[in-house]
C-alpha cells in the first residue's frame, strides 16, 4: 500500500490494548449463552403420557424408551443428540420443552446425562 494509515492503526491498537480479552476462561467463568440457543431438552414427567412419538421421530435415534418405576419414559442420550429439537416440536403434550442449557454442556450436561444413564436409574 502506498500510504500507511498511522492514525487509524494507532486507534485500533490503543483501543484493543484496553479492551477485555475476547476469549473467556471457560471452565472457570460462566459462558454467555444467547437466549434462543438450542440447549438440552427439559422433560416434564407430569405431562408425559407415553405416546412414544419422540423415539420414532428423532432423526438421530437418540431417544430410547426405558422403564422407570413401571412406566415407559424417554431417555435422551445427549451424546447422540444433534439438538435439532424435532422431539420438542412434535411432542403433542409439550412434555419436552426447550432450554438454553447448552454452554454448560461440559459440566452440567455431564451430570444430567449421568443421572439418565440406564445403569444408574
Amino acid at each position: 500500500m502506498g500510504r500507511v494509515r498511522l492514525p487509524r492503526m494507532a486507534v485500533e491498537v490503543v483501543s484493543s490494548l484496553f479492551k477485555k480479552s475476547s476469549t473467556r476462561k471457560y471452565p472457570f467463568e460462566k459462558p454467555i449463552v444467547p437466549l434462543g440457543s438450542r440447549g438440552m431438552q427439559v422433560f416434564h414427567s407430569v405431562m408425559w403420557h407415553g405416546c412414544g412419538l419422540c423415539p420414532r421421530d428423532c432423526p438421530a435415534g437418540a431417544i430410547e424408551m426405558v422403564e422407570v418405576s413401571g412406566k415407559k419414559m424417554p431417555l435422551i442420550r445427549i451424546d447422540s443428540c444433534i439438538f435439532c429439537y424435532v422431539c420438542v416440536e412434535n411432542c403433542p403434550r409439550k412434555a419436552l420443552t426447550e432450554s438454553n442449557l447448552a454452554g454448560h454442556r461440559g459440566q452440567r450436561g455431564a451430570r444430567h446425562q449421568a443421572r439418565r444413564e440406564p445403569s444408574e436409574r
Partner: protein
C-alpha cells in the same frame, strides 16, 4: 413464446416421434422423456438453441426393471430434465462428454453407484468408492444391502503416478499430496505431476469423507431427512436445507408463507456472508497474509453470533423446515443485525481497497489460475468461479426462489477469470448480501412463518435449485407417495467446479497451488467425490517446459 415452450419446441422439432412425453412440471422446469438412445440428440438440440446451456447433474434412479437417467440441464432461463430409461440387465448408454464435457464426473458417479456403462466415456473410473470396492456392487440400486458388500475387501493404496510408466521420463516427478496433510483442511488427495517448479498435471481423488448421505436419506422420513441433509456441509448447511425443503414443497404443492420466504432469505444470506468471510481468511493464510486471516475471521465471528441469535445455533442453523421456517425473527435481533452488518459492509469495502492495491496480493493472484469464459461454460462451472470468468450466472436472479424475486440486486461478475477476480466477486457479494439482508428486514411481511404440512408427500419428482455460497446447488427428490423419499440426489457446487482446477493450475508454480485452490473455495465434505480426466479428445497429456512457459505468458 415463454422460455419453457421455446425449450420444448427445440427438443420436439429435433426428435419428433422420439420425444415420448413433454411437459412443464413447474415454472421454469421442463421434463422430457425421450426414447432410449435419443438423449444425445435432445441435448445437442438444446446446446444449439441456447448459448448458455450447462449441465447441472445426472441423476440415476432405479425403477426396478429399468434404470432411469435424468440429465438436468440449465438453459439460461429454464431447467430441462431429459429422461431416458435403460433396461437394468444391460444398462449401456452413449456418453455425452464429447458434446458436454462438464458431464464427465456425473457420468462416473452414475457408473459406480448404479452400474450404468457410458459407452465412449474417456475414463470411466471410480469416483467416490474406494478403488478396491468389489466389482458389480452398486450401492444405489434398490436391491443392494450393505451386507452384500461385506466389510472385508482389500484396501489398496491409490496409484502414485499419472499416466503410463513410459511417460514419466526426463525431469518430471510425481508428488502425492494428502490425504492427510497439514496444509489441507479436509481429507483429499492430490497427485501432482511436476516439471521442476511447474505443475504439468494434477489428479485429485476424493471420497475419503464419503458418508453415503443420499442412501441414508432414503431411510428417513422427509422431515427427518432435512436434518440429515443439513449436515452434508458445515459451512453451507442453510443452502442445503433450503434446497431440500424447496424441492419437497414443490413436490407436495405446499405454499410457503411470505414471511417465511423472507426469513429464509435473511438466514441464507447470513450463511453466505460467513462462508465468504471464511474463504477470505483462508485465502489470506494460503498466500501468507495472516493478518487478513485474523481480521476476516473476527468479522465472521460476528456473523456467526447473529446466526445463533436468529436461529439457535452458530453453525447448524436448522432453521428451515418443510413448509416454512422454525422460528420467528425477534425485531430486536433484526435491529442488531442491521447495525452489525453495516460495520461488516464498511470492512468489506476496506478489504476490497486493500486487496486491490496491495502489490503482494496482486502478484500472487493476478493472472494466475486463469479460466477463460468459453472454458468455464464448457466445463459447466457454477457460482463465483463462473462469475469470476465473466459468466453472469446466479440462481438467485435467474431462477428466483424464497424472496429473491422481490429483492432488487445485480449479479456480480468480473471478466478476468483469474484468482484475483474470483476473490473480488466474493468481496462484492459480501456487500451485496448485507444490502439484501437489510432490504429483507425492512420489508419483512407479517403473518405466519410456518405452514403445517402432512408427513406423506404425493408421488412425483422435483428439482430444487439454490445459489449456495459456492454456486448452484441442486437437489433432486423423488417420492413414491409415502413419508419416505424414494431417491434424493445432491449435486454440490464443488463437484461442478473441481473439473476446472486442472485447467487453472496447469502451468502455474507449485507455490501457487494453495492460492488457486483456495480461490475455487472447494468444500470437499460437500463433494466427497471427485477425480480428473481428460475429456477433450486430442488434448496433449504431456507438455514441454517451453510450451508451458508460453502458455503462462498468455501466448498461444
Amino acid at each position: 413464446m415463454s422460455a419453457e415452450e421455446e425449450a420444448m419446441e427445440a427438443i420436439s422439432k429435433r426428435l419428433g416421434e422420439r420425444a415420448q412425453e413433454c411437459r412443464i412440471a413447474a415454472p421454469r422446469r421442463i421434463c422430457v422423456l425421450v426414447r432410449c438412445g435419443s438423449h444425445r440428440d435432445a441435448i445437442s438440440a438444446l446446446l444449439e438453441r441456447f448459448e448458455f446451456t450447462t449441465i447441472s447433474t445426472i441423476t440415476g434412479v432405479d425403477l426396478g426393471e429399468d434404470i432411469e437417467l435424468n440429465y438436468h440441464l440449465w438453459c439460461g432461463r429454464t431447467e430441462v430434465t431429459v429422461k431416458t430409461r435403460l433396461p437394468k440387465i444391460r444398462p449401456d448408454v452413449e456418453t455425452v462428454t464429447d458434446i458436454l464435457p462438464g458431464a464427465a464426473l456425473y457420468e462416473r458417479e452414475a457408473f459406480e453407484l448404479l452400474g450404468v456403462r457410458f459407452l465412449g466415456h474417456p475414463g470411466l473410473k471410480r469416483l467416490v468408492l474406494p478403488d478396491s470396492w468389489p466389482e458389480g456392487q452398486y450401492p444405489l440400486r434398490r436391491d443392494w444391502k450393505p451386507e452384500i458388500a461385506g466389510l472385508e475387501f482389500p484396501q489398496e493404496a491409490d496409484s502414485v503416478a499419472i499416466g503410463a510408466e513410459g511417460e514419466n521420463r526426463g525431469s518430471t516427478v510425481n508428488v502425492v499430496f494428502g490425504p492427510q496433510h497439514p496444509a489441507l483442511h479436509e481429507p483429499e488427495r492430490f497427485l501432482f505431476k511436476l516439471d521442476g517448479e511447474i505443475v504439468v498435471d494434477v489428479e485429485p481423488r476424493l471420497g475419503y469423507a464419503h458418508r453415503g448421505i443420499e442412501k441414508g436419506a432414503e431411510k428417513l422420513m422427509f422431515f427427518q431427512a432435512t436434518h440429515l441433509i443439513e449436515r452434508i456441509c458445515g459451512i453451507c448447511n442453510v443452502a442445503h436445507a433450503t434446497c431440500f425443503c424447496q424441492a419437497v414443497e414443490s413436490l407436495g404443492g405446499i405454499e410457503v408463507p411470505p414471511r417465511a420466504s423472507y426469513l429464509r432469505t435473511i438466514v441464507h444470506e447470513l450463511n453466505r456472508l460467513h462462508s465468504h468471510l471464511l474463504l477470505l481468511g483462508v485465502a489470506g493464510m494460503e498466500i501468507g497474509f495472516e493478518t487478513l486471516f485474523q481480521y476476516s475471521w473476527r468479522d465472521r465471528e460476528m456473523v456467526l453470533d447473529l446466526t445463533e441469535k436468529a436461529t439457535g445455533n452458530r453453525i447448524m442453523a436448522e432453521y428451515n423446515a418443510i413448509g416454512g421456517v422454525r422460528r420467528d425473527l425477534d425485531p430486536i435481533v433484526g435491529e442488531e443485525m442491521k447495525k452489525v452488518l453495516s460495520g461488516i459492509k464498511r470492512r468489506a469495502a476496506f478489504y476490497k481497497k486493500l486487496l486491490g492495491e496491495d502489490p503482494t496480493f496482486g502478484l500472487r493472484t493476478r493472472g494466475i489460475g486463469v479460466l477463460k469464459a468459453a472454458e468455464a461454460l464448457r466445463l459447466s462451472v457454477v457460482g463465483p468461479v463462473a462469475r469470476g470468468s465473466g459468466i453472469k450466472m446466479d440462481v438467485r436472479r435467474h431462477d428466483p426462489y424464497a424472496a429473491y424475486g422481490e429483492i432488487p440486486f445485480e449479479e456480480v461478475a468480473y471478466g478476468e477469470g483469474d484468482s484475483w477476480a474470483r476473490f473480488m466477486v466474493r468481496l462484492d457479494e459480501i456487500a451485496q448480501s448485507v444490502d439484501i439482508v437489510n432490504y429483507a428486514i425492512e420489508k419483512l411481511p407479517s403473518g405466519p412463518y410456518r405452514a403445517r404440512v402432512p408427513r406423506r408427500v404425493p408421488e412425483g419428482e422435483a428439482l430444487g435449485r439454490v445459489e449456495a455460497p459456492r454456486g448452484e446447488l441442486v437437489h433432486y427428490v423423488k417420492s413414491d407417495g409415502t413419508a419416505y423419499p424414494q431417491r434424493v440426489k445432491v449435486r454440490s457446487p464443488t463437484l461442478a467446479n473441481i473439473m476446472s482446477f486442472r485447467e487453472m493450475i496447469r502451468g502455474c508454480y507449485v507455490a501457487d497451488i494453495p492460492a488457486v485452490l483456495a480461490s475455487l473455495d472447494p468444500c470437499f465434505s460437500c463433494t466427497d467425490r471427485m477425480a480428473f480426466l481428460d475429456v477433450k479428445s486430442g488434448m496433449k497429456w504431456f507438455w514441454s517446459l517451453e510450451e508451458i512457459k508460453r502458455r503462462r505468458l498468455g501466448k498461444p
